[in-house]
């Protein structure tokens, strides 16, 4: 076997330096990454990147920041669940990681323009959804009413607390939050995120619901949205899969004839409704 270097490859890794890192909860850590030479990642809200640590491996991670926030850096939130994410948690400011991407189809920000939006974020779903929420807030004039529904397990699991408070304060955003389990200091809603949906006053014809959460959440949230008569094509979901290549080959993220890494991760409900093993 002959081995030669390649100039081009889908697997080329870019150098990214951690310029900010912060433990957010017991499991989640925040990273701000700057690419070498201040190269712009040039991502759309809802896209993901592959993160590498040499010798450990690679994993798909959602970009959490909006491209409108900063040009020269982007943000990730990583839950410590596996080998790569565990190793990432040990890294800090100044450490270097590998970046590939951005990959996939993100949220169709142009199609959303002029429409009312209802964001439904469950658990870690807020991480990718935050990229779109901040994109919309930074281009607030281009969108109709904005509703944000946020659900998490308990108050201590809430991510981006300060930013969430800012959203809550805004007059041009209707924000609601609920926790599955309360604690003594919590004064807000208690219950599943589905309990917030019936109360939102929507102009159905011009509302897009954008839903991101753990796989289990989708079934229940979609049922509530359909009860409100939101058209299926106006329900957008971001599906979680464990991509290994990001370029539509390795098979791990396959849903029917779709490769989630290329065709998704964002789908409208009518695209995947009834599709075997999608939800």
């Amino acid at each position: 076997m002959i081995q030669v270097p390649l100039k081009e490859s889908e697997y080329i890794v870019k150098k990214g330096t951690i310029i900010r890192a912060k433990k957010m909860t017991a499991l989640e850590k925040f990273f701000e990454i700057s690419l070498a030479g201040n190269e712009v990642l040039d991502h759309d809200p809802g896209q993901f990147v592959m993160i590498s640590i040499p010798g450990i491996g690679e994993a798909p991670i959602s970009v959490s920041s909006s491209p409108t926030t900063k040009r020269s850096s982007f943000e990730l939130v990583v839950r410590n669940t596996g080998v790569l994410t565990g190793a990432l948690h040990k890294l800090d400011v100044g450490d270097v990681i590998g970046i590939r991407g951005p990959f996939g189809h993100g949220f169709p920000t142009n199609i959303l323009e002029g429409n009312d939006l209802m964001f439904v974020a469950g658990g870690l779903g807020i991480v990718p959804l935050r990229s779109l929420i901040n994109f919309v807030i930074d281009n607030r004039r281009d969108y109709g009413k904005v509703n944000i529904l946020l659900g998490c397990k308990s108050p201590k699991d809430m991510l981006f607390g300060d930013e969430v408070k800012q959203w809550e304060k805004r007059l041009d955003v209707n924000f609601q939050c609920t926790v599955d389990r309360s604690d003594p200091d919590w004064k807000g809603n208690v219950g599943l995120i589905t309990s917030l949906i019936p109360g939102v006053n929507l102009d159905i014809a011009r509302t897009f619901a954008i839903v991101v959460g753990p796989p289990i959440m989708y079934k229940f949230v979609i049922a509530e949205l359909l009860k409100k008569n939101i058209p299926e094509r106006q329900i957008l979901l971001s599906l979680e899969r464990h991509m290994k290549c990001g370029v539509g080959k390795c098979g791990h993220c396959q849903i029917g004839e779709h490769y989630c890494c290329q065709d998704g991760p964002v789908y409208s409900y009518d695209q995947i409704k009834g599709k075997h093993e999608a939800l």
Partner: protein, 344 residues
């Protein structure tokens, strides 16, 4: 006009010896009672011309079980993408396996293209070899229209009584024929003999399934909730043999291998299998195909349903390897027929 040449059987060993001087030749070699493998040969005597599909298909040369795609240096944070290839002639590829290579080509040339695969493929010369009769009862090549050559080779050998008639399909094939000056032009008798052989084959090779080729997708589209999958799930031991030996299974994992200096290493691409329990598992622990029944169903759907939507072609070649290798006696023909029966 199509070009046919002839090689006398007595010149076959000479041909292989000369071919091996041009570049490495791999061909089917007998390994055991009913097992064969593609491996390097230098003489014709080593080759088993009458072989049942090899344990692993020629896929192993196009998409090696493990290939390095990058080298890294951790302390310098240097990543070098690499390509591994070998100039190679594969001799004796059956029509089912030619079809398998065509499927892989479709996948890896689909955008974004896989440069590693494409370069490696272009370094391989393919010489096909016709099956004049069934290899064994597990093949279902006729049902997939793969019992006759449908392109995908440089040269294609068909065994006649005293000679091999060779279809010259590419310039590369022509070059080999010229370089190894053992071939003569095929005459009308040879062409007639080939015609008769194909006619005889059409009587031997009949659709092995109880479903028409064009109806197969429909059967699978309607079988998502079939009981057949439960039966398969109960039998399957999730060993992944079926996907390893499949000429069109290409799923892979990407892993890092650190050298003993704990600084340099390689990123490698290795065969993976949708039959493995954690194949479709996500970070939260949820698996989209937790049950073996669902994983078997997925394997079949990836042969008879999904690729038709994506590539307008079935990804089963009818080679029969999955049935031959299965430790749990899961038989492709039985599965397809059971699904078709249920649909009636």
């Amino acid at each position: 006009m199509e070009k046919y040449v002839v090689l006398k059987k007595k010149d076959f060993n000479d041909f292989v010896a000369k071919l091996a001087l041009i570049q490495t030749v791999v061909a089917p070699v007998k390994k055991g009672q009913k097992s064969f493998a593609f491996q390097e040969v230098t003489t014709g005597q080593e080759i088993s011309l009458h072989y049942i599909p090899t344990i692993l298909p020629p896929k192993k040369y196009f998409m090696p079980q493990q290939e390095t795609i990058m080298k890294f240096n951790k302390s310098k944070f240097e990543w070098t993408p690499v390509l591994e290839y070998k100039e190679l002639t594969i001799f004796g590829v059956h029509t089912c396996d030619l079809a398998g290579i065509q499927c892989l080509n479709m996948v890896f040339t689909n955008k974004p293209k896989d440069i590693n695969y494409i370069v490696r493929k272009d370094k391989i010369t393919i010489i096909g070899f016709e099956c004049n009769d069934y290899c064994d009862e597990f093949a279902s090549c006729a049902s997939m229209d793969n019992h006759i050559p449908n392109g995908g080779y440089d040269l294609f050998f068909t065994e006649l009584k005293d000679s091999f008639i060779v279809h010259v399909n590419t310039q590369l094939g022509e070059k080999i024929v010229e370089e190894i000056s053992l071939f003569t032009k095929a005459n009308d008798e040879h062409l007639k003999e080939l015609e008769n052989l194909r006619a005889a084959k059409s009587k031997i090779f009949k659709n092995e399934l109880n479903v028409k080729h064009s109806d197969l997708k429909g059967v699978f589209e309607q079988s998502f909730n079939s009981k057949v999958w439960k039966d398969l799930g109960a039998k399957c031991v999730a060993c992944g043999n079926c996907t390893n030996v499949c000429p069109t299974c290409y799923c892979f994992d990407i892993k890092d291998e650190m050298n003993l200096d704990f600084n340099t290493g390689s990123r490698v691409r290795v065969w993976d299998s949708c039959q493995n329990e954690d194949f479709a598992k996500v970070a939260g622990g949820e698996s989209f195909r937790e049950e073996r029944a669902n994983r078997q169903k997925h394997r079949y759907m990836r042969k008879f349903n999904y690729p038709v939507d994506k590539f307008s072609r079935y990804f089963c070649t009818g080679c029969g390897r999955c049935t031959r290798t299965c430790m749990a006696q899961i038989k492709l023909k039985e599965t397809v027929n059971a699904l078709a029966e249920e649909k009636k």
